[in-house]
Amino acid sequence: MDLSLTEEDELLRDTVRELGQQRVRPHAIEWDEARALPEGLMAELGEMGLTAMELPEDEGGTALSAVAAAALVGELAAADGALALRVLRHNTFGLGHVMLGLADDVREAELPAMAEGRVEVAWALSEQGSTTDPGSIQTRAVRDGDHWVLDGHKQHVVGGATAGRIVVLATTAKGDSTADDIVALLVDGDADGLTRGEPVRTMGMRAAGTAHLRFEQVRVPASRMLGEPGQAWGHAMELLDRARIGMAALACGIGRGALQVSTAYAKEREQFGKPIASFQAIQWKLADMATTLEAAWLLTMRAAWLCDSGQEFAAAASRAKIAATTAATRGCSEALQVHGGYGYTREFPVEKALRDARWCESSGGTNEVPRTLVSQAIAARYTG
């Protein structure tokens, strides 16, 4: 049993932590206000390999383990949750789905720009509310010669406001569709008939460029279908499982960032002539934040390790996601409380951390889905 990162991974993590502190945190509030990330930022991260974290080296990737990738996402999130989310979605869903199913010739042409972060890849599954079964997908894909023709709406597409490519899950069936009817298509950001809504006015993750997308008679070359017909839904479920590891890491990072600034604040800020850090009420809050966040972090690392070592990890990832997002929301709220009135203002980063953390808690269909997965896993373990 060993809980340490490899030396290279530690080095990389420290570099990204540095980047977070120097390049990201000073601007996080301003990006949040602007509800957008600066252009070219993804490409900038690309130079450090952060936009192709889990890609093999021969595809221009950093070939990181899930453990290492989670550690980096956590570091980015400690500086800015929204940026970390964009990076996570691009890596796990965008590139993840491309690697699962894009035909070699197209991939050779498309992948380099994606891997370098010059072209961001968004992933569009959800429609009305949160989509957890194929039956609720209404977006139609109709075959027309060597093209697919897309019609429908996708909601809450992270990065959808600006992404250069969008993976769209659609159904080929007329009525209620089953998993077999679902196809995944790689759509060009500037395709005719694609209309992007204004960035959704979300409470948290405001710089994540979440948008609703409308597809009207959008023609997609058949060569840009990801995987064989009937594979798309299985791929999507696989990616959702993996993404829970990333979301857990992200939430832990947000919470850790809030804990860090609150601790610094508690030591400076005086009341009744003493630093407030000397009051038990404040000490308790910091202690509970640290405790619950570290617990969640270990769950996250364990899920990532299971994934790396080829073991079943879905239930573990769900546990990590529940524990991390709830600990982060609660922790950030306490962090805000530690700051008193200042914490409620946008001059301090904790109110944003709370908004971002709360977004994580109910993203992807709330914690009801992972909770159900966990309880099913438990009941299943039962043997006579």
Binding site: V200, E270, Q337, R346, S362
Partner: protein, 386 residues
């Protein structure tokens, strides 16, 4: 004799506030949250509806409807617009403070103008940097001159600081230690030397302004002194104790609004073919909200009733505030959970509740301050054996 029914008058005020909330506040709430600024029209309309002086004697232009009515009214308006409501809370309390501690000139000069909206709204200038919950550390000074007083210092966290027409200002008038030596002054908003700061950018309550106020050689006449010289602390305590009932009522309204939105969502929406309301997880969330907010409502009304009966209510007000604000925040969180992805969208409605309610655990005395008040009181109470 236990009786949980509101009186005729209380019910009437509640209905009036509900109509006002739905007709005036609700339509403007989202825009106000987006654009920020100060809700001039809302407050003018509130004044004409009598909601700027619910617990002010009719002789002074108020409704004379008592504290319970006030609490009920605030809970109603907060369901539609928490931002306008906080300005209303402070104005009502400023009116009460002047009506209670003021001499006849002060009462007749200021209170009717507060109720009518002529003074826009009132504001309290108490907090200072490093003296948030510690009036003993106050630095603002008022020095006697032949013409009256000159006030020097800086105040923070002043609700409606951008537009208030009357400020209740606490300042040291002697070097007596602790809270002795603090006096209270009534300073009109247009007094030279009263300098309004820029509004803070906040997580929520964007339709209310919070500013610093600097007093630089701010001269006021002898008539500005409210109550006796050096007796300013009791004035602050009354303002804070009463304020807690207002904020508890406000946070309750926010929690109720979020719960109602979640309830409609659960009943109207389906997931995977069946109504959300059939999901036990959603049922639990709504049941816990209903249970906790119900308890919060009773704690708040109990405190209001005690104040109305003119018996000690400080402890009950603290209990009402800490429980109601924290449970309302939890309720807004559960409401977000019920709405799922839409819970964190402006379109869903509850994310504004979540942002707005969060400050109620902080202002008018943080949850930590309330717990200190409560535990101190418990020590006394149980030492008397009941």
């Amino acid at each position: 004799m236990i009786d949980f029914r509101p009186t005729e008058q209380q019910r009437a005020v509640q209905d009036k506030a509900r109509d006002f909330a739905q007709q005036v506040l609700a339509p403007a709430a989202v825009g106000l949250d987006r654009e920020g600024g100060f809700p001039h029209e809302n407050l003018a309309a509130a004044a004409s509806a009598g909601l700027c002086g619910v617990n002010i004697p009719t002789a002074l232009g108020g409704l004379g409807a008592g504290v319970v009515s006030y609490s009920l009214a605030i809970t109603e308006t907060a369901q539609a617009c928490a931002a306008t409501t906080v300005a209303l809370c402070v104005t009502n309390m400023v009116g009460e403070v002047v009506a209670h501690f003021g001499n006849d000139d002060q009462r007749t000069h200021f209170v009717p103008r507060l109720c009518s909206g002529e003074l826009k709204v009132g504001a309290f200038a108490l907090s200072e940097a490093g003296a948030g919950s510690d009036p003993g550390g106050m630095r603002t000074k008022a020095t006697r001159t032949d013409k009256g007083w000159v006030i020097e210092g800086s105040k923070l966290w002043i609700t409606s600081g951008t537009d208030a027409g009357l400020f209740v200002v606490w300042a040291k008038t002697s070097d007596a230690p602790g809270t002795r030596g603090i006096s209270t002054f009534l300073v009109p908003g247009d007094t030279p030397g009263l300098i309004r700061g820029k509004p803070e950018h906040k997580m929520g309550l964007n339709g209310s302004t919070t500013t610093a106020i600097d007093f630089e050689g701010c001269e006021v006449g002898p008539e500005a002194l409210l109550g006796e010289e050096g007796r300013g602390f009791p004035v602050a305590m009354m303002a804070l104790d009463g304020g807690r009932i207002g904020i508890a009522s406000q946070s309750l309204g926010i929690g109720l609004a979020a719960t109602e939105t979640a309830r409609r969502f659960a009943v109207e929406r389906e997931r995977n073919g069946q109504p959300l309301s059939r999901t036990q997880a959603v049922q639990w969330a709504l049941a816990d909200n209903a249970t906790e907010l119900d308890a919060a409502r009773l704690l708040t009304l109990r405190a209001a009733m005690l104040k109305e009966q003119k018996v000690a209510f400080s402890r009950e007000a603290s209990i009402a505030k800490v429980f109601t604000t924290e449970r309302s925040f939890a309720a807004c969180g559960r409401a977000i959970e019920v709405l799922g992805d839409e819970g964190t969208d402006e379109a869903g409605g509850v994310e504004r509740n979540f942002r707005d309610v969060r400050v109620t655990m902080i202002y008018e005395g943080t949850s930590e301050v309330q717990r200190i008040v409560i535990s101190r009181d418990i020590m006394r109470r149980f030492s008397q054996g009941h």
